[in-house]
């Protein structure tokens, strides 16, 4: 008997009881589906992080507000904007390792162009922001000095916003768009940097303060929400960081022993650490999913043992008609394999569907790679072989005479 005939017999036997066959392979289906999904979500999260790391740019430090004390009560980090444009200026002028720096204020708003409407992040900043992030223009120009100091009604669009507001043939440069009823002229469109980065519109910092946040009372005229700064070389990161901390403590008049009201972070390093954590969690989840594969294998073995008992007479007949022991073994092994492979295939399809659903519903990035699918299928084949072998071996060892006597 050939392998092919073994598979034909197996398929015939499994088709006779589709519900039972499906329930038997359910454990494998669930196991493989979870492995594929976990892989997809895990590698999606990694890709997203890598993209973020890339988009921040190399050797970038980020300074955000820290804890503040008001009447002896410690307020949450970031509850007060503690940095100013003066801080940006001081960092740029007094720390030689810093090549570029920019402060930002950000919020979300509707952006409108001729009946097209898009909700996006509005970032008020200076041209230095693009220098820090090595962010090139696809067309147009950056802000001019006059626009930066004089609250110019100009805007630079991220590629997503440009795509959403303008038809493919339209040149956005020179067009008028409106943000919170303020008409602005598009002066530049940025290069693509990644889906999470490109959904943004930049205006001069002075424009953001004067025209969008003007009435907000809790904002100091001079405040910025965060500062990004570019360090000249990789080896200077730690030194530059210490210098910024010293400078800002001095400028903010923080006495020795009191907590800083700002935080200096290396976002790329933090994200790399996060990436390691994601990998660990993903591996843990895969390990858990593998347990359900194991359970699935045991369930197949269980059903196969029952099936061998039920079909003892069939085995006796096949042996009497000339089936060799190895033919019987092959027949039942093929059955277990078909169950596992079919379960694996359904599981892969289910896993792909599930991770695409997760991607859509939760807005996570998922990435299905063929390696994970191959691994899951290989797992199910191995499971079939391991858990199918014992029942198949048992079937092949039955004495044909005894087997023929059973009912």
């Amino acid at each position: 008997m050939t392998m092919l005939q073994g598979f034909q017999i197996a398929l015939h036997a499994l088709r006779l009881n589709p519900l039972r066959s499906f329930l038997t392979m359910l454990g494998i289906v669930i196991g493989v589906a979870s492995i594929v999904t976990v892989f997809a979500i895990g590698s999606g999260a990694q890709l997203r992080l890598q993209e973020q790391i890339r988009s921040i740019g190399a050797n970038v430090l980020m300074i955000t507000p820290g804890a503040v004390y008001q009447g002896g009560v410690r307020l949450k980090d970031g509850s007060k904007l503690t940095m100013t444009e003066g801080d940006v200026q001081a960092i740029l002028e007094q720390i030689p390792e810093i090549q570029a720096a920019a402060g930002s204020l950000a919020g979300t708003a509707q952006v409108i162009h001729e009946g097209k409407n898009w909700n996006t992040t509005i970032n008020g900043t200076t041209t230095g922001h693009f220098m820090v992030r090595d962010w090139q223009l696809a067309s147009g120009r950056y802000f001019s000095g006059a626009e930066e100091s004089g609250a110019g009604k100009v805007v630079i669009l991220g590629s997503t916003v440009a795509r959403e507001l303008f038809a493919p043939g339209d040149d956005p440069i020179g067009a008028q768009i409106r943000i919170m009823k303020v008409p602005l002229e598009v002066v530049g469109v940025l290069d693509r940097k990644g889906p999470a980065q490109d959904d943004v519109a930049f205006v001069p910092l002075s424009t953001a303060k004067l025209r969008f946040l003007g009435s907000a009372s809790n904002i100091n005229r001079d405040s910025v929400a965060y500062i990004i700064a570019k360090v000249a070389a990789d080896g200077q990161m730690a030194g530059a960081r210490a210098e910024i901390e010293g400078l800002l403590r001095q400028r903010h008049r923080i006495p020795a022993g009191q907590e800083d009201d700002f935080k200096v972070q290396d976002p790329a390093a933090a994200m790399e650490a996060q990436q390691g954590a994601i990998r660990t969690v993903a591996l843990l989840l895969v390990a858990i999913a593998s347990v359900s594969l194991l359970v699935g294998g045991i369930s197949i073995m269980n059903v196969m043992i029952v099936s061998v008992t039920e079909r003892t007479r069939e085995i006796g007949i096949r042996r009497a008609l000339g089936g060799r022991m190895r033919d019987i073994r092959l027949q039942f092994l093929c059955e277990a394999l078909v169950l596992c492979l079919l379960g694996g295939a359904i599981g892969v399809a289910g896993g792909i569907t599930l991770s695409m659903t997760v991607a859509r519903m939760a807005g996570w990035v998922t990435s299905i790679d063929s390696e994970a699918i191959g691994l899951a299928l290989a797992f199910s084949i191995v499971t079939g072989l391991i858990f199918g072998f014992y029942p198949a071996h048992k079937a092949s060892r039955l004495s044909p005479i005894e087997a023929l006597k059973t009912e």
Partner: protein
């Protein structure tokens, strides 16, 4: 196959079963030959060892003592796999309870032994069709065993026994589960087969069936008590329809 050496030859064959230290000798010191083209009835009371003897002739079992020769070769010297292959090609079993695979239709059942002879699907089905035709069951080729009467199932089973053109057909009470009329039809089928030269060994309890065979072997308590041949001139009450 040479004309001198018999098809099957049993030499002082004994078969002893040992369960829990108790030894039961089902077949004791039996010797006889079966030549090509014979039709032999095996008779004896229940428990006299007929089925045990048949299993040894059919290579399903080996003697505890003595030797079974198939075409001059001692079957004890053959490997388990080799004996299985010989069963596929050289032995055709017919059982009292038909033993068709319930989940396969008639033609697939008939074709089954050829799976173990390495014959491809198309050729298998073509030969199965011819065999079904020869037992008059072609019109039921795609029926499942449960859709067939006992007599019809036994015809299908006989077609299955014949499909690999075996050296010998071994039938263990093939009419035991059938009424006398249907039994007679099945018997007629065997008789017709034998006239074409097919060697047949048939276990039966029915003396009237035995008289239609030219040779009758009687067992008692595992021992051979008589081996009679009926002269050719005695007319057979054949029931050929």
């Amino acid at each position: 196959m040479t004309d001198q050496s018999p098809l099957i030859s049993l030499r002082s064959v004994s078969r002893t079963y040992r369960t829990d230290g108790i030894a039961v000798t089902a077949v004791r010191n039996v010797s006889f030959d079966i030549a090509q083209g014979e039709i032999v009835a095996v008779m004896g009371p229940s428990g006299s060892g007929k089925s045990t003897l048949m299993n040894m002739i059919g290579l399903l079992d080996l003697p505890s003592e003595g030797a079974v020769h198939l075409e001059g070769a001692d079957v004890a010297g053959l490997s388990e796999d080799r004996r299985s292959s010989l069963r596929a090609r050289s032995i055709g079993f017919v059982f009292q309870s038909y033993n068709l695979l319930a989940r396969h239709n008639a033609i697939e059942n008939v074709a089954l032994p050829l799976v173990y002879c390495g014959v491809g699907r198309k050729a298998r089905l073509a030969r199965a069709e011819a065999c079904l035709q020869s037992v008059g069951m072609l019109h039921r080729a795609h029926h499942f065993p449960r859709q067939l009467s006992g007599g019809e199932q036994q015809r299908v089973a006989i077609a299955r026994a014949l499909i690999a053109s075996p050296l010998i057909v071994l039938a263990d009470e093939p009419t035991g589960a059938l009424d006398s009329r249907t039994g007679a039809e099945i018997l007629a089928l065997f008789a017709a087969l034998n006239r074409t030269g097919q060697t047949i060994v048939m276990i039966t309890h029915d003396p009237s069936i035995a008289t239609q065979c030219r040779r009758t072997i009687r067992l008692h308590d595992g021992e051979l008590v008589s081996d009679e041949r009926v002269a050719e001139l005695v007319p057979r009450r054949s029931a050929v329809s």
